[in-house]
Symmetry: C2
Subunit: 444 residues, 2 copies
């Protein structure tokens, strides 16, 4: 995982366009906004995430000498382009919705205001970071809503799309309300809780399942969670009960058992009975194995006595919607608002602000997208977070982002909290913005 | 993108189990195999990819001091575990199918033979690397088959799941037969061709579309591909024709135009006519915009005069199947074959080999999964690639892997080459393996 040269992690055309802008001295101030065009069929809203990584990227943006050497040997870049890239840092401003904010299609969640070559060059990585974490947070909070307080744990690393996906999915799901992750590096990097149980291989490597339970309990005495489905789930639950007393004598309690296959609701019922009968009423049941929010909801609706859920692949990859229809579009250049009119992909021009009204019940009651500077009723959602290439304030802790996300979910009307598709939330385009669009069209 | 500590990029339970194995002196030789349980509904085969990154990971596997410090402060690891981890390197053997090999469910593509704690600890990252690249290669080669020689370019970076996904998707699609990528870092890292055009923002930043075309052509004179759908596609095509003469006088020819929205087939027809009428018969048409193999096939079947395709998000995220149902399972420990019998997730025990028969037409004619050491008709697909933690030979170049993949696709029967679901390919379990499974079951 050699990951030098994040600055080269970009589409070639960004560099080619930068060369053209520099050659033409088109270095005026450009305004780009990031937004999502539409909701996937199984989402009623999005949750913003990824801003922290974007700001770090922008603050540290620079071309290393080896990057410039590589660009030079392609023969496609002039000495004056290379000199300009060598000196280039990100000197622009950023406005954004805080991470954990709920948002809807066409609402910008990030605005970059910077000299055109800079604002263009950062496009690919900014999109890459915002698309992924926003996608994961928007998926993860669906499980959070249906779990109704039961802890959820991210188990998705092995099938996440590479190293960074595993790492950032752990972060995005945690800020959306997950209790933690199995991903050790995410724990080390983000200071988030890590959880682990044991694998089937551990049981198989032993001659005897009960012996395997004993050994893993001794190896992590503070959080014993035993995997009981390697051979026969209920038989294994009986072994857990039998083991409990001797473990207790060693000062070790069995925190939980994990079910990973078969009819989870049925196994959970039977195992709960066995555990309770054996006096292990405090031992929790953790379910895992191809879970997603639909299955979590179905299991709980069926009354399955499951206390916590490990949600992996489906969440980490956002399997039912593995990308967002997102865009990073030029909305203004050198003081002139602009828009794209490509069929089916037209955008709203200019610098925008989103105002959100809450109803008397404290729930979301309609958003308005308007041009910046126009004050409207409600709370403005976009705030300045970076000026002249520097953060305006230290980043909020991930715990603070979690709090913000929790409030955001609590403010959702009930219809939007359901898993099935709701009637679209009321997002209006202000007259001022409509007029600006017409004006731009007349002049293009 | 701070990516220290790849070794901590693992599930917590791997470390806990390692602690238990070490405490119990369970350091005998373990055999794990990686395989995929079943085909997604829109795949007829898989293409193996990711081995190169796995071998690099294994060769460089070690815990850095900062990793050990972090583990120590969690309070969950004993001094003797930490000492063992500090000294640990990967000293095992690896057998694998070469990258670019076509394979089917239940066929192992990688076998790791190593002391149990090592073989267990590498599980998460090995799965993470093989799952992702194999998934992308298996998706990408579907576009390769339907494009019938027309160049395909990876444009997926912005919606790939983070940095490493973008990088490795470029690699995996290239080895599967793509012509190159827009991803500059992938070009620098893997020596693969990079391609770029221009963005709508570039046109919008100019007052005049024709002026934008001129400026980008001057900025990358060796590969001029003009994006013509920002406002009116056919009107822009006329501007391209008008520009061609003056560019020719500057020694610049217009290599292609790019269509990115609307009815691509219809626009391609009209644009082809305009270009040909204007004498630009050599100017290629590149199509992009939410393309996948189904759309590429439909466009070509409709007779659309499209010369090359940029395939992005759908390929990079394998959007219709964004993960594989893959597993890394313990098949033998300390000379004793073992298997998991969990409901719906049972595995075949022991060290395995896959034999492939070719028919008289040179096409695949049936695979046999058997136990290692049993010689059967056909070609064995698993080969030793690492011994005692060291590669047995230098890695093949990516060009050589491409050649292997091209041959593998050419050997596919026509039914498996189609996009729609084919009857399953004939993969049999050898009697020797069936017997071993029964024997293992009797002794568990």
């Amino acid at each position: 995982m050699n990951t030098a040269s994040e600055t080269l992690l970009t589409d070639l055309y960004e560099l080619t366009m930068a060369q053209a802008y520099l050659a033409q001295e088109m270095t005026g101030i450009a305004v780009f906004e990031f937004f999502v065009r539409k909701l996937p069929s199984r989402r009623n809203f999005f949750m913003a995430a990824g801003l922290e990584q974007v700001l770090t990227y922008l603050e540290t943006f620079h071309f290393a000498e080896r990057d410039l050497d590589w660009l030079a040997q392609t023969g496609n870049f002039t000495p004056s382009t290379l000199a300009a890239l060598r000196a280039m840092r990100f000197t622009g401003d950023v406005h954004a919705m805080p991470e954990g904010t709920v948002f809807f299609p066409h609402e910008p969640i990030l605005r970059i205001t910077a000299p055109l070559p800079q604002a263009q060059l950062v496009e690919t990585r900014v999109m890459n970071l915002l698309n992924f974490q926003t996608m994961v947070a928007s998926k993860a909070c669906r499980s959070v809503m249906v779990a109704e307080g039961r802890p959820l744990i991210d188990f998705g690393l092995r099938r996440s799309h590479g190293a960074e996906a595993g790492l950032l999915a752990a972060r995005a799901s945690y800020l959306a309300g997950f209790a933690g992750t199995s991903n050790v590096l995410a724990g080390a990097r983000f200071g988030m809780p890590t959880y682990g149980t044991m694998a089937h291989a551990f049981v198989q490597a032993h001659h005897d399942e009960a012996e395997a339970f004993l050994h893993i309990a001794q190896a992590q005495p503070r959080n014993v969670v035993l995997l009981i489905d390697t051979y026969d789930t209920e038989a294994a639950a009986e072994k857990v009960v039998a083991l409990a007393t001797s473990l207790k004598n060693q000062g070790i309690s069995i925190h939980g058992v994990r079910l990973d296959s078969g009819d989870l609701a049925d196994h959970a019922q039977k195992v709960r009975l066995i555990l309770d009968r054996g006096g292990l009423t405090d031992t929790k049941i953790l379910a895992s194995g191809n879970l997603d929010e639909e299955r979590v909801e179905a299991l709980l609706k069926s009354g399955a006595p499951i206390d916590r859920f490990a949600v992996g692949t489906a969440m980490t990859t956002s399997a039912d919607a593995p990308y967002l229809d997102c865009a990073y579009k030029l909305q203004e250049y050198a003081g002139r608002p602009c828009r794209k009119r490509s069929e089916g992909k037209a955008t709203w021009p200019g610098r925008k602000q989103v105002y959100r009204r809450l109803g008397r019940d404290g729930r979301l009651d309609g958003d308005l997208i308007t041009i910046e500077g126009e004050t409207r009723p409600g709370l403005p959602l976009l705030h300045p977070v970076m000026q002249n290439g520097r953060r305006l304030a230290p980043s909020p802790s991930i715990e603070k982002i979690r709090d913000h996300a929790r409030l955001a979910l609590a403010e959702l009307p009930d219809t939007l909290r359901r898993l099935d598709q709701a009637a679209p939330y009321d997002v209006r385009i202000a007259e001022a913005l409509e007029q600006l669009a017409q004006q731009v069209d007349r002049h293009t």
